[in-house]
Amino acid sequence: MPPDHATRPRVGLFATCLMNLFRPNVGFAAARLLEDAGCTVEVPMAQTCCGQPGYNSGDFEAARALARQVIETFEGFDYVVGPSGSCMATLRHDYPKLLADDPTWRPRAEALAARSHELLSFLTDVRGVRDVAAHYAGTVTYHDSCSSLRGLGVEAQPRLLLGTVSGLSLAEMDDREVCCGFGGSFCVKYPAISGRLAGDKTTAVAASGADTLLGGDLGCLLHLAGKLRRDDQPVKVFHAAEVLAGMADGPGIGGEA
């Protein structure tokens, strides 16, 4: 159902924790893409974390508290959009489950879930964006985060948009559907296993022949960039939004390769 502001919907930009702390450029890229797609973008200053760390650590009470906070913060927007499949899957899928037994909050959680979107799929599926005006000189490979791929069914959308970036060619890697080993707090609770899986993934990245790794989730990208830098692999890392917004001219995640 198109909202009242169908011509120019008000989008609340969800500033994910990792983006806020590590990579503001991704937030500005997301804002530019949303504005180019005809949205009015606002960033509520009261926002913090979606609560997923608590949810995945079994602290459902903490997750509920933050879910209620996010719902209140973003309730007035036509859409909530974030540059992360992981956080947005939490809003879309987990909030209604977490608050299912709460007669007051359940409908509010469901209403928010229905308006919450991962950035790249929002651009294509909701706003009908079919191309971008950006240029990027390089061969990129795209890492599907598990929460985007299996959680939200985001697979074709980033590739559709990246295919319209001039100068960019896409080289898919093997085992695209395999987890990179980030897994939120998993990556510090089980660092050796996480490191092995990162190594498997960066090996696949290298084998693809790409000079740039893109993705839609900063968790995976920080993890993989860290592994690439540790191994001195000359692969640049950006969030796909940075490339699509034409804002990938600075150093990549983890610095220059």
Binding site: V43, G58, C146, R150, C179, G181, G226
Partner: protein, 470 residues
């Protein structure tokens, strides 16, 4: 079998350092994952079959008492006997009693995960019985004195060269190294044993309430030789393996082989119904079904009931990145991988298995291939929830989680701490864009660099550019 799950981390680290294991696990993917994907894509009905299988299992579980009683009646009608066993100890005792009563000396075994679960071999050997595993994978790990590392490929962790060493040590003679020679050697060694055996023990993939049949689905034929050449056939199976009718066997056969080994069918599907009939020239004289509860009934009606749908195909572990990195032994008990990370805490206790539900990235690939659509990540998360509620997580983790919540519930504090962290980490990294090490973040920096923040948070930058932002 003893639970060794508290040592998950140490075992995982050892596994990661083992090049033979890495070689062996690499083959799991080629052997199982690719073939499953091809077959799933080639069968238009596959997704519908998975839905039906899930729904049918749910129906069965909701009427489990009825179908178990029907099964018991049908086995009895066919001349066999059902032994209801509330726990592992009772199941072991029932089998020991049968072996003693029939004067058994030698016992052959087809593959049965339930027999591993109840620690049957040790119990039989302690009473002086000669027990021989006849599934090639089980035979290999019996020689190696190891537990299985995979529910359908118990020796998946062993390379061909390691098998060659084991066989050479056990059988003597010339050391064979080709797969064909090794398989032939085991074939010849085991052949005598089937004919000598007094009791043959197999598992049961399905128990058919309609006919009282037990069904095994195999590829080697050892389970058949085990049961038709022994005087007594004992089937060990969990109570949840019941299916109402033969039509249900068709449903599950259509998803089992495709999910397990990436084949349209396994080589042998065998229905065993009672002992040999009058006039039958071969077959066992006695037929016993040892029905094992051992904690299963306690899962009904609770948050883990979905796990009872499991048909033990192994697809979840074949597709699990963590299993693929550390193998099955790290999980420390009978059932490894995602299904084991759910079952082991439920069977063995949350307190001795704290790592298992957490050693998972919640990437969801297991659920995406599970033929009966068990929401494995959700069940693992629910186990984490129960661990959290019972204070079973390490104090440092609890403190970190509490601190995170405290900050995240206070937007101004959140912004302040983030600004501080962005500047501090950026300052340490200088212009390199990354940190090689960082105090209190060794968990991260031991295996990868930490990409440096840009130095200002998004929220503060946005507010600077949009002064009206609230």
């Amino acid at each position: 079998m003893q639970v060794d799950s508290p040592n998950f981390k140490a075992k995982a680290d050892a596994a990661l350092a083992d090049p033979h294991l890495r070689e062996a696990l690499g083959k799991t993917r080629i052997m199982f994952v690719n073939k499953r994907a091809e077959l799933a894509a080639a069968l238009p009905e596959f997704e519908r079959l998975r839905d039906e299988a899930r729904d049918r299992k749910n129906h069965i579980l909701a009427h489990l008492d009825h179908y178990l009683e029907r099964f018991d009646e049908a086995v009895t009608r066919a001349g066999g006997q059902v032994h209801w066993c509330a726990d592992a100890a009772e199941a072991r005792q029932v089998i020991l009693d049968i072996c003693q009563r029939v004067g058994a000396k030698s016992i052959t075994k087809g593959k049965s995960m339930v027999s591993e679960e109840i620690g049957l071999n040790d119990a039989l050997e302690a009473e002086g019985y000669r027990v021989l595993e006849t599934d090639l994978g089980e035979y290999i790990i019996q020689l190696a004195h190891e537990p299985p590392s995979h529910i359908i490929a118990p020796a998946a962790h062993k390379t061909r060269e390691q098998v060659a060493d084991l066989f050479h040590a056990a059988h003597g003679g010339e050391r064979k190294t080709s797969v064909a020679e090794l398989v032939t050697e085991a074939r010849l060694v085991l052949r005598d044993e089937y004919f000598k055996a007094d009791v043959g023990i197999t598992g049961g993939n399905f128990l058919v309430a309609e006919t009282g049949s037990t069904v095994i689905v195999t590829n080697e034929g050892n389970g058949d030789l085990t049961q038709i050449l022994a005087r007594v056939h004992i089937v060990t199976s969990g109570i949840e393996r019941i299916v109402p009718t033969l039509e249900d066997v068709s449903l599950f056969l259509r998803i089992l082989a495709r999910s397990a080994t990436g084949q349209e069918t396994e080589t042998y599907t065998t229905f065993s119904t009672g002992p040999r009939r009058p006039g039958d020239p071969d077959g066992p004289e006695e037929f016993h079904v040892v029905l094992v509860d051992n904690g299963r009934s306690g899962m009904l009606g609770g948050p883990f009931q979905d796990m009872l749908r499991c048909i033990r195909c192994g697809a979840c572990m074949n597709h699990c990145p963590v299993y693929g990195a550390v193998g099955g032994h790290a999980y420390g008990w009978v059932y490894p991988g995602p299904m084991g990370a759910v079952l082991t805490p439920l069977f063995a206790g949350l307190d001795v298995t704290t790592d298992l539900p957490n050693a998972c990235t919640l990437n969801g690939r297991c659920q995406s291939v599970c033929p009966v659509r068990i929401p494995l990540p959700e069940l693992l998360r629910e186990l984490r929830h129960q661990q959290h509620q019972r204070n079973l997580r390490p104090p440092a983790e609890r403190r970190a989680l509490a601190a995170w919540r405290f900050v995240a519930e206070r937007p101004r504090l959140y912004q302040f701490t983030n600004r501080l962290a962005a500047r501090a980490i950026k300052g340490l990294a200088g212009d390199t864009g990354r940190l090689h090490s960082l105090p209190f973040a060794e968990g991260w920096t031991a295996f990868r660099d930490l990409p440096a923040p840009e130095g200002r948070t998004f929220l503060e930058l946005w507010q600077a550019r949009h002064p009206g932002a609230r």
